[in-house]
Structures are given as structure tokens and as C-alpha cells.
Amino acid sequence: MFVPSITNPIGDFVRDIVPRLAEYLPASIQSDTLNSIVAFLVNALICVIAVCAVNIGSAPILIYMERKVCAHVQCRLGPMRLGWHGTIQTIADVLKMLFKEVYAPSGADKLMFYLAPLIVLIAPFIVCALIPFGRNLVVADVSMGIPLIIAVNGFGVLGILLGGWSSNNKYSLLGALRSGAQMISYEISFAMILLFVVMISGSTNLMSITMGQEGTILDWWIFKIPVLGFIAFILFFISSTAEMNRAPFDIAEAEQELTGGYHTEYNGTPFAMFYLAEYIALVTNSALAVTCFLGGFLPPCIGIAAVDNYLNMVPGVIWFFAKVYFMIWCYMMVRWTFVRPRVDQLMDFEWKFLLPVNLVLLVAGAAYIVVFN
């Protein structure tokens, strides 16, 4: 009998405790098969809840953070009225959004209109399940993590295109087509950088990519390969910003030109889902950058035993989230610092600069591996 199992300490704990609880049941319905199925279902439920908690829980925090960072960059205060320094403001906004009436514009393709926000959410949730948050904290420790990430990223473009087209609005359609062209182009260099990481670490599994950076801070992939690692990190930063449709590459929604782009016609819960997908993508892309370049959940050891002992005492999850929030802060500062390029400038930048540099980087990385290993 094949019952899939989830291997980690929490899974072992559940597998251990379910048969003991099952002893209290009447003897006629006890069986090992039932126990293993129940244990598997409980484990799966724990995994789903964990992914949802990380994703949906981080969205209000990020919205609050974005508003505060934006406000302080522009010498304002941001939300201040509700709660201490406006902390309850986001919760109020979320509640307002959820209780709004949901309706589609007349002439909209209803099926596609309501399907699009769901499709947009596929990719961030799958990527989040692959990321190792700690030594034993990973939902799906699959051997082909990076190809899976590259594969599911296509769903984001599809959702945006469908949302834009089915809204029956010119602004939406223009925004959707712009973002389709942009995301398809930048996906190439995004995949190229991930390929570079796969090449230098020799694995497509995110856990072993992280464990390959064990040691001091100089063993992280960003520093381990002298200059190339840093260049790759910067290129990853640029292409992931464009892939997420975040400013300065937000020509898909460009408020001043397109009144919101592909989600102009959305309101209430579907709009909240587009928004959620955007912020989850921010978390997952930061987590990916941290895993691939900044040592994942490993502490930033400096090689002095006295300091490293204290650093190692902090759990890996805390290091992971500290690094992720640092990356998110970097994305936000970039968003409020740079100006938006024109559409043609953006495409020129990808095809005439980013992609050639990526190809050269791949060749240089291969040369480095051949020469120094």
C-alpha cells in the first residue's frame, strides 16, 4: 500500500502520536493503514497551514512596512491614527476590502474575470512551499526545486493577461499586454541567474544549495566566487524586480498612464488577491535571493569561535526572516528611489544589456569552476 509521507521531525512526531491516539478508538475500526493515512492527512494539513500562515500573514506586515518606508522616504509620517503608529490601519484596510461587494463590469468574460486572480496566486504559493526556512523546516524538499520555480512562474503572466483581457477595458488590456511582454522577457534572465546558481552549487535542490554555503560569511555564494557572485546577485535583484512588476519596472500598472493597469476593474476580494499575489511574490523572491546568495538560514559567522557560538545559538528561522526582511527593505527602497523607464527602454535594457551580460556571466562562471576546482 502506497501512502506518501512527509519527512521531517514534525512529520515524525505526528506519525508517532497518531497510533497512540488511535488506541482510544473502538477496536473494530483500528488499522495500520488508517493510522498512516490519518497521519499523512494531518501532516499535509500542517504543511498547508504553514504555507498559508507565512504567505497571508506576511501580507499585512508588508503593506504596513511599504507605507511606512514610502512615507519616510518622502519625509511624511504615513499611517499614524489607528493604533500605535498606525499599526491597526492595515487590518482595517483588509477588513474593508473583504466586505466590499464583488462585481464584474458589464461585457466582461465572467469566468476568466474571476479565474485570473486565482491563477496569479498559484506561483507564489508553490515557490513558498519549496523554500527551506530552517534546517528541518521545508514543506517540499524536492530534488528539482529550481526547474519547478522556473516552470510555475509562467502562471503569473497568464493570470495577469487573462485579468487584463477579461475586464473589457482598454487600460486593463494595455497594461496586461505590456506586462506580458515584460514578464516573458525578464523571465529569461531570471532563469539564467538561477542557472548560474545551479552551476556553481552543483544542485537544483534548494536545501543543498543552502547547505553548500555552510561556514563563514565568505562562503555564501555572493562572496565565494570573487566578483561574479556579486554581479549575479545584482542581476538577480534587477530581473526579479522586473519579474514581480514592481517599481521602477511597474509599467504594467503605471498609475499615471494606465489608472492601475490590469487590475483597474477589480474590486473587493479579487483585487485583494492580486495585491496578495504581488506581496507574496515579494516574500518568495526575497527568500529565493536569500537562499541562493545570502546563505539561507545559516548565521553570518565571521570565523572567530567566540562570536560564532553566540550567532549559532539563534535559530535558523530568525536568521532567515531577518535576511528576507532586509531584502524586502532593499526592494522597497529601490521602488521609492528610481524613476520608471519607458516601455521601449525597458525592453532594450533586457534584450540588449541584461541577457548578454547573463550569458557572459554563465560562461565566466563555467570558466571559474573549470580553473579553480
Binding site: M1, F2, V3, P4, Y24, P26, A27, S28, I29, S31, T33, L34, I37, G107, D109, L111, M112, L115, V142, S143, M144, P147, L148, I150, A151, V152, G154, F155, V157, L158, L161, L162, W165, N168, L173, L177, G180, A181, I184, T204
Partner: protein
Amino acid sequence: MFPNLNIPSIPLPDMPFAFPLGGMDIAFYAVAIVMLVTAVFTVAVKNILQSAVFLIFSFVATAILYMLLHAEFIALAQVMVYVGGVVIFVVFTILLTSHLGEDAFSTKIPRVFAAFALSASFVLVMVKCVLPTPELSSGVVNSAADYSSLEQFALRLLGYDHSGFIIPFEVVSILLLMTLICAITIARKSKEDVAKEKEVK
């Protein structure tokens, strides 16, 4: 815990469901149903964009089927190639077809007899091929456990020895390079166009 409960012993089988392999079979039938339903919708829906979306879901279900058969790389390639490909198809559909959202736009082609003949002959071929295979469900796996892993796949693809595929791989890569160069040659501006633009300025 339940001292007074005296439930008569219900004859529950050891396996909770009457399938030979349990969870795997349930997964297979669930995926197969999704695949077939979305495939039928792909053909039956009148709007070309909706049928593209159903096609994507059908492809994704196929990928899950591959995954159940432990062919992870083929599953990922399926998602990568077809989802990306259909997305580009959607872009071109939006760009090139007018009257997309109207009811008058229909993909129905009146070829009922040919369609029936084709599907009947396909079913016949499938039955002819599949039925003679003895004990398909209880067959033994005779390849190594990591046969379909990415490492084995890559090593075989780039292998020089008898089982390697280095020459077809290189031929395909040259073909892809040719198409890339052709695309750039078609898309770039010719010198006359550039000169004209300068005159206008």
C-alpha cells in the same frame, strides 16, 4: 475511553478503498478525470481564449500524471514548455483576432463525420496497442531508481559513449541558434529604415 460502546465489528477491509494500490490509484483517477473534463471543455467552449485556458489546465493535469509515474523532469518540461507556449499563444490571440469577446466569433468547424471517424480510429488503435500488453498494472519496474533524475538525464544527454545523445543535442542547439539569428535578422531595422528615420528627424 468508550466503555459502554459495543459496536458490532464492521467488516472493514485492511485497505480503505478497493483499489489495488490505494492512494496512487485515487490520485490517478482524480487527475485523469480533471484531464478529460478540461480536454473536452477545450474543444467544446466557443471562446478561443477560454479554450486556451482549459488547454493549459489539461496540460498541467498531464504533468501531474507524469509526476505520479516518477518522471519529474518530463512533468516540469511539460509545464515549462506548454504553459509558456500557451501564454504566448494567448498574447497573439488578443493581438491578432478582432471580435474576440463577441458571440459571433466561433471556433466551430462543421466536420462532424471526419471528427467521428478520426476519434473512432484513434480509439481502435489505442485498444489494439494497449489490450495485448499482458498485466500492465502488475508490471515490474526494470529501470534504476534515479533513472529519471535530472543528473542522470543530463549525463545521458551530454554523454559521449554508446548510450549518450551528444550529437543530436548539438544538432538541435545549432538549429535553435539558427532560428534565433533568423528572428533577429527579421526583427532588426534595415539600414534604409534607419536612414529614413534620420531624414524625418
